[in-house]
Symmetry: C2
Subunit: 196 residues, 2 copies
């Protein structure tokens, strides 16, 4: 029988994405067993992030200042702007460590059903940035889902007269086996085939 | 690109059981988005647990005082003592809400390979408690694994002259389908069949 403080912590942990009641109990028990080594430092780290984390006013990335490290970094003013749905997509792009420009985080996809219009997605802000930051190329790195592609089309409509627009290539993932790929991906890879 | 505080938090979260780097990133991003509502309260709850959580000196349960609520509760001095491997097993028994006695948490199973002997498992303490708390029945609720059953046999050897020993029944789980059960379980359920 756990006491109320512990129960409260388990309930809170169980609400995190990727954790349920069972894994929250396991995690909390693990933390309690190593409380000096894990629980106190984790609580401190959370306090630190809670005190400093904020969204970048320019691009929507998450960082510890009003303007994020990427927007601050003059070396990244390459004139290329990569549009992503979410901060997690931005982080995924950064892990690939290949894009040297700046980002614009939409914060989701257009959805008539859920009442998400261009205003909610900082699309007007994107149009502003294309002009004010002298952007030469906008790379639409939206997810290859129906919603993602619908949003990409809308943005393309807004920007096509102002700037060069590109999107990520579609095809066979590195290490991918044809047998495990869906028909849509194979079809896209065949249509975009390259001479060797 | 996340800043260092956020990276530290992600790394710490990724070490929790049940979370990996990807789910830790998702969880931290979720917490940052709702930092007033989730992150600060979660950090506070962790601080509270870090400050107060401890193992019960008597049974090994985790609680917020030196003697846990169950050991404190006189109504639970039924003379029945349920031996479990781990605090999570104790919590599972408590969720079933059917056992009215007290517990003894071993903290693992005997393992020659990993150098876990009776001393490491608080088995001597168990023998002491059987005498000092006037226990009439010891229920061995160890996991139905090879290690669990080996440990149960060892404890039975230590206690068989002193107290009545029982173990949890083995058989078909409630809601279980025969087609999905292993041969060992079906065999155990058949051997322990009951007249209706």
């Amino acid at each position: 029988m756990s006491s109320s403080d512990i129960d409260t912590l388990i309930e809170m942990m169980a609400k995190l994405p990727g954790l349920g009641p069972r894994s929250a109990r396991r995690a909390v028990l693990h933390l309690i067993r190593k409380r000096a080594l894990l629980l106190t430092p984790l609580a401190d780290a959370m306090q630190a992030v809670a005190a400093t984390a904020r969204e970048c006013l320019n691009c929507g990335n998450v960082g510890t200042s009003d303007i994020c490290d990427i927007c601050h970094d003059d070396k990244r003013a390459t004139g290329e702007l990569c549009v992503v749905e979410d901060v997690s997509d931005l982080w995924a792009m950064e892990r690939a460590n290949v894009f040297k420009g700046r980002y614009h985080v939409l914060g989701g996809t257009l959805s008539a059903l859920e009442g998400v219009g261009p205003e909610e997605l900082s699309i007007p802000k994107l149009v502003d940035r294309v002009v004010s930051e002298e952007i030469s190329e906008v790379i639409l790195a939206l997810n290859a889902t129906v919603d993602g592609q619908t949003t990409a089309h809308y943005i393309a409509d807004q920007l096509e007269t102002r700037v060069k627009l590109t999107s990520l290539a579609q095809g066979v993932p590195i290490g991918g086996e044809l047998d495990y790929l869906d028909e849509g991906t194979i079809s896209a890879a065949l249509n975009a085939r390259k001479t060797i």
